[in-house]
Symmetry: C2
Subunit: 112 residues, 2 copies
DNA sequence: CCACATACTATGTGATACACAGTATAGAGA
DNA sequence: TCTCTATACTGTGTATCACATAGTATGTGG
């Protein structure tokens, strides 16, 4: 395994944990899977379909999201938005994110 | 599963990806496992022994760290420090960390 | 009419943090 | 001396989850 591959793998791990946070935060506005993916992509968070859809189902199963099949134009889409529980969880997660950031900053500050 | 448990699980996932980054960054100074753990704990990054030691071995196996058994005082300890490859990887990871931060900030900024 | 974007589903795999348990030494206080 | 705690590391099993890959199906522009 070369250095490039190692970095790539660590990069994936790094993003992995941040995905639920990003998804929850983004779903303060209603989105369907595809538009959510586009939105996150634009903000620099590439997320595979095979990652996003199961994640959405998982978060819904946990009661953090609600969803609804609708056909606004012609196609049927599953629209997701943050549930009340999701809002609470999101707020806690944001706090955790800040804490984590401070910790990492503390480690990086020393020598960098 | 209640809201508390969900948050806790997501929190773990969040930190998970950041651990290699923190470990690599901290090992710009030499440390043995125990002192490394103490150091990270102080900075707010609690890391289990069962997580840290395997992680160290993995990073060494990938050539990012070098280690050496030594008995400075009485006890024998395995001292770790960043290898040259580790330095490169660390620098890339820091860049990725900043990118991720910007992305998350972009998502959070909208409504929070 | 056909290539492409859209929109979602399904399955298998590999990586890995953590739980839990175990081994062993050193130092301090009773 | 005995025991307790901190130190220091190893080993095994499990659950979770992102990703790879493939498949289904519909709308749209040329």
């Amino acid at each position: 395994m070369n250095s490039q591959e190692i970095v790539e793998k660590l990069r994936l791990e790094l993003r992995r944990g941040a995905l639920p946070l990003a998804v929850l935060a983004q779903l303060q506005e209603e989105h369907y899977g595809y538009s959510l993916r586009r939105e996150l992509n634009q903000k620099g968070l590439e997320i595979d379909e095979g990652t996003l859809y199961p994640l959405l189902r998982r978060l819904e199963k946990q009661g953090l999201l609600t969803s609804e099949w609708r056909s606004d134009d012609k196609r049927k889409k599953r629209y997701y938005r943050l549930a009340e529980l999701g809002q609470e969880v999101l707020e806690s997660l944001i706090v955790e994110w800040r804490v984590l950031n401070d910790s990492i900053d503390a480690v990086l500050k020393e020598k960098k």
